[in-house]
């Protein structure tokens, strides 16, 4: 972590991304593009929590594969299911 990217700014970014999700909920969210943006935002927040809150940066590869793998597989499966409609 550095001067700009630190635990305080991570918290701020997570809050701002949550407000973005909330704001997008009032745009016609039936749109595929909106759905994709919302899922990318959720994925980004998840990666920040795993990396910076859980402090998994630098731990063994197995842990990273399980955690990042979980959030990626779940997000992708949701996107695919929504695109199938």
């Amino acid at each position: 972590m550095n001067k700009i990217y630190n635990i305080h700014t991570v918290w701020l970014m997570l809050v701002l991304l949550t407000l973005l999700t909330y704001g997008l909920s009032y745009i016609d969210a039936n749109d595929t593009v909106i759905m994709l943006i919302l899922m990318v935002v959720a994925l980004t927040k998840g990666v920040m929590i795993i990396r910076d809150y859980m402090e998994l940066k630098g731990v063994s590869l197995l842990w990273k594969i399980i955690m990042y793998g979980w959030i990626t597989v779940v997000s992708l499966a949701i996107v695919v299911a929504y695109l199938l409609v």
């Binding site: 635990i7 991570v10 918290w11 997570l14 809050v15 949550t18 407000l19 999700t21 909330y22 997008l24 909920s25 009032y26 969210a29 039936n30 759905m35 919302l38 899922m39 935002v41 959720a42 927040k45 998840g46 929590i49 795993i50 910076d52 809150y53 859980m54 402090e55 998994l56 630098g58 731990v59 063994s60 590869l61 842990w63 399980i66 979980w70 959030i71 597989v73 779940v74 997000s75 499966a77 949701i78 299911a81 929504y82 199938l84 409609v85």
Partner: protein, 188 residues
């Protein structure tokens, strides 16, 4: 010189529990998205009855609670145990507010005659959010025990294992909600 990976934060047993929990929640999330394919209108109409404001506030509360937990661990590593326990109590306060708001939301729905049997969307809504709700309560109980012990001086900069274990569980609860909020409350 070979660079070895740093040890995982907290207890291995807790991480096994975290992986199991994530697997269960992940299956629920995917099941929600798959069942929705054949019930899009019902899911979208029901979703619009949910309170997005409380959903967003609750997300910020969990994110903030997690931030306080990280700060508590950092404070303990710096041997400032009083500061560390104060951060943990701040995290508990944020998490408790989440529980209060969620309880009011459940009460609101049930007062309107909506329950787990109303339709498939609400079956998922109650199942997923109630399951998560109980995890938040368990997380709060774990944090409370660790906060008390920290306050009494049981932990220091060389004994961060218990707090890291509790923190890892709490962050898992946060991580699950990060997917649950857009999935249940927002994405149509």
């Amino acid at each position: 010189m070979k660079k070895y990976p740093k040890p995982i934060p907290g207890d291995l047993a807790m991480w096994i529990i975290i992986f199991a929990e994530l697997l269960v929640f992940g299956i629920f999330f995917i099941a929600y998205a798959v069942v929705r394919i054949n019930n899009v209108d019902m899911f979208n109409d029901s979703q619009l009855t949910l309170n997005r404001e409380t959903g967003a506030i609750n997300t910020i509360l969990l994110i903030t609670a997690s931030y306080f937990v990280v700060m508590a661990i950092h404070a303990l590593k710096n041997n400032t145990t009083k500061k560390s326990s104060r951060y943990l109590y701040a995290a508990i306060a944020s998490g408790s507010l989440f529980i209060l708001i969620k309880t009011l939301e459940f009460h609101d729905k049930m007062s309107a005659g909506i329950d787990i049997g109303t339709n498939t969307f609400y079956m998922f809504y109650f199942l997923l959010t109630l399951f998560h709700y109980f995890h938040v309560i368990l997380g709060l109980m774990i944090l409370f025990v660790v906060a008390l012990k920290t306050q009494k001086g049981h932990y220091n900069a060389n004994q961060t294992h218990a707090m890291e274990t509790a923190g890892s569980y709490w962050h898992m609860v946060d991580l699950v909600w990060i997917i649950m909020f857009p999935l249940i409350y927002v994405i149509r």
